[in-house]
Subunit: 496 residues, 2 copies
């Protein structure tokens, strides 16, 4: 995939900060220009949220975080960048001015994206010397978790620019959707605006409260739309009769006087106060920070659930996450270049995710084995048993496991695992993992595993090739010098 080498972000609010986090966590250096006195605090908070979310989102090895630099001038920030993202306030004159400044100093081959949620790219690029490289790249909040970027070109935008922009998003975990024709507000905000106007009427007329309205969404079509959207959902509703039949039935409803959409509600002080008050009641005692945390944890959980969709192949945003992780593994795995032979291998770093805990906030039993399984997978990638190797028909399967619980992992706790190779022969690999509290280093649990090298089609054990075995043996020999870990060879119920 074609990656971004250096990004520049002009404007570092919540949206700009989200872009910055996306770039940094994908290992890309970012130069930022934002004269706002609070810019670095706001950006720092977004990055902190993003890091928390990523630690729960994926066990794949993120590359070393990119370097973040706040620059004194726009010119300094833009210098050398191959993706420049403008996220300044939503005023045409202001955005035009900033884009013209960028245009004057950017590399000729740089891509220039605008985060505008509604302005036309043709209007934005009007006065640029190289307008062909300007496009709208409209993301959704929180930018570090929601994958969508609406890509919209103006009259002077080149097809090569659109193509390049679309290609550069998957490596940072995002999904570019190309909107065929430019219109104000593009597609997402058009849809949101339509629903929003209707929602304001429903509150204005006391048909329901903001809490009731949110419940109507999140207990019904919100669940549908998180995975399939509007038309695919209706396709199913049409059943065997098909989409055309469904539509023909639906047609007459459009003439019914159901909605108030012909009038625009007056969002006056009274309505603002009413919604404000109802929103306070809905949130009860939850602060914005707490709501953000809950939202991000929920989004992580939904993305992970969709990663298992369509029989494990991944579906929608979950498929995207799966592909993103595969590319991270491809970059980060498979290298035995450096390990310290005097220590067990440190392999998995993560945080205890909310989906992993019980009512008391303790990590549930099987999540321990999940982290240990991830540890075995990380070891295997390290010795060359990567996606390509497995797809070619061979793998290691776990045949036996022994787990000891020595302490408890709690919600949000930073944990990591280490691995010792106890022994290896042509078919068998005997390992011992330890799960640690990262803050104290203390052992929370241990796992002893026996793995077998198998021909996965034939479903039986077969000797591992030398190219794998040599790497395993090198580690095993180094580990042979370490003191034997406590608990090896225990059976359940054995006296200490």
């Amino acid at each position: 995939m074609t990656g971004i080498n250096k990004a520049a972000c002009i404007g570092g609010g919540v949206i700009g900060g989200g872009w910055i986090a996306r770039f940094l966590l994908a290992g890309i250096d970012v130069d930022v220009f934002d004269p706002h006195p609070e810019a670095s605090r706001i950006v720092g908070e977004v990055i902190a949220n993003a890091e928390k979310a990523y630690a729960m989102l994926t066990g794949a090895p993120l590359p070393p975080r990119g370097r973040l630099t706040f620059c004194e001038t726009l010119e300094e920030a833009v210098a050398g960048a191959d993706w420049i993202q403008e996220s300044v306030p939503e005023r045409l004159d202001l955005k035009r001015g900033v884009l013209n400044e960028i245009d004057a100093v950017a590399r000729p081959d740089a891509l220039i994206g605008s985060s505008t949620s509604g302005l036309l790219p043709t209007d934005l690029q009007r006065d640029m010397k190289h307008p062909e490289r300007l496009f709208v790249a409209h993301p959704y909040n929180p930018v570090y978790l929601l994958p969508l970027v609406e890509i919209v070109g103006g009259e002077k935008t080149s097809a090569a620019t659109i193509k390049a922009a679309m290609e550069r998003l998957p490596p940072i975990g995002m999904k570019g959707v190309h909107i065929a024709k430019e219109i104000e507000a593009f597609v997402g905000d058009r849809l949101l605006e339509a629903l929003w106007r209707e929602a304001l009427w429903l509150i204005h007329d006391d048909i329901c409260t903001v809490e009731t309205l949110d419940d109507v969404i999140r207990y019904s079509f919100g669940l549908r739309w998180a995975q399939m959207g509007l038309f695919q959902t209706y396709r199913i509703a049409g059943g065997e009769a098909g989409m055309r039949h469904f539509l023909a039935q639906f047609g007459p409803c459009l003439a019914w006087p159901w909605t108030k959409l012909t009038d625009v509600v007056d969002l006056d002080d009274a309505l603002i106060e009413k919604i404000g008050q109802q929103s306070d009641e809905q949130a009860a005692d939850l602060s914005i920070r707490e709501l953000e945390r809950i939202r991000d944890e929920n989004l992580v959980g939904i993305l992970q659930a969709l990663k298992g969709g369509d029989g494990g192949k991944g579906w929608g945003a979950g498929k995207l996450l799966k592909d993103f992780e595969q590319s991270l593994w491809a970059q980060g795995g498979g290298t035995t270049t450096s390990f310290d032979p005097s220590k067990p291998l440190r392999l998995v770093e993560t945080k205890v995710s909310p989906a992993w805990v019980d009512y008391n906030g303790h990590m549930t039993e099987h999540r321990y084995l999940q982290v240990f399984g991830d540890t075995s997978d990380a070891l295997l990638r390290l010795v060359g048993v990567d996606v390509a190797y497995v797809e070619a028909g061979h793998s290691y399967y776990t045949v036996e496991t022994h787990i000891r619980h020595l302490g408890e992992a709690k919600l949000g706790q930073a944990i990591h695992s280490t691995c010792r190779i106890l022994s290896v022969n042509d078919k068998r690999l005997h390992v011992f993992h330890t799960l640690h509290d990262t803050a104290t280093g203390e052992a929370i649990a241990t796992a002893e595993h026996m793995l077998l090298h198998v021909d996965s089609k034939a479903g039986k054990a077969t000797p591992a090739p030398a190219v794998i075995l040599d790497k395993v043996k090198a580690i095993a020999e180094a580990h042979a010098n370490l003191v034997a870990p406590e608990g090896v060879g225990r059976y359940v119920g054995q006296k200490r």
Copy 2:
């Protein structure tokens, strides 16, 4: 909770069938009247989908399925029912006729819900003798998974009816949302209709295709709405400045000429054909059946993810699922009344869910331990270690585990677990579980566990009380007569 004893469903299409499945799976007998010749086939298909979904959704013990009866007459179906759900086609004259028939023969204290998605309850109840018991109970497809029911009363509906209807939904896993004032299409379909009109314009004008539009939704705000809805999401977007500030900023946008909402698109043959064609392309080679399967698996995964939300307390539809499961456990657990002492206890029945498998469709390592952990939980509930016992401060914790893999569980496979108590004393409980392929009875994996009775606040072992121990010992004594299972006391790597 106040439960439904017997339900009657008048009309058994996709919506009626969904209601029937909800009732049956919650253990409620259902009498159905639908003169349509295909009714029993359609209902049977919906129930089959629902059963597949529930097997993946929850490990909680569903009560014995209710009895399903197709009746020859409406009168027969309605007799004795305390919840009567009308789901006939969406025509006022037809619905009125059916409701008047129901009214004439129903028990005086029966609740009568209409599945109408748009008609006013005041219009529906106009000619009823007992109109106070009629209300709208508008569900969303698939009814067996989406929890929302919009509850709307008409002018003559009594407050007691609304209250009773709201109370009877959580025990069948649903969420009643009371809409304060009746309007055509209520709240959900108002919002859907608004967005739908805008979507039709976007397709009509070639701004995007149906696939692009669905992608815009499912990679962005669909993920937000599955868990928080519209206003709560914007509350966060407003940040520390608050909801009122956010609204005041948003106000001016309402006057912008963004949307085409003042006109209604003409859904003529050309537009129907265009959408039909684009929808075919989007679905590619996926049939409606496959799309249904994928949708249900995704919904199950999202609901399970939200069950872990807000630090394990559950959030939105996931909280509802958690509460539903607690009530199932409360009904189904805690009884040692009957078990066959000549066999291991059969405790967990489930299907391998899509979120549980890897790319090859094999159940991942840690999901084996999840089923074994659920087996221990089921045993504990059986001997009195239920939610109340745990909340009162004592529990059993697993301290040691040994797992052997003997075969492989695959996507969709029906599996169950059995449990043997090996030994017990006042603090320790030594068990041996086996995971079976339900079709053949063959063992796929075994797990040996040592559990300790603990004071969870103090975090240390403490003797279990006699009320628990007596029940455990009764089972242990019966199990002592069984042949010792193969594999007990093994350590990892031990020769066979």
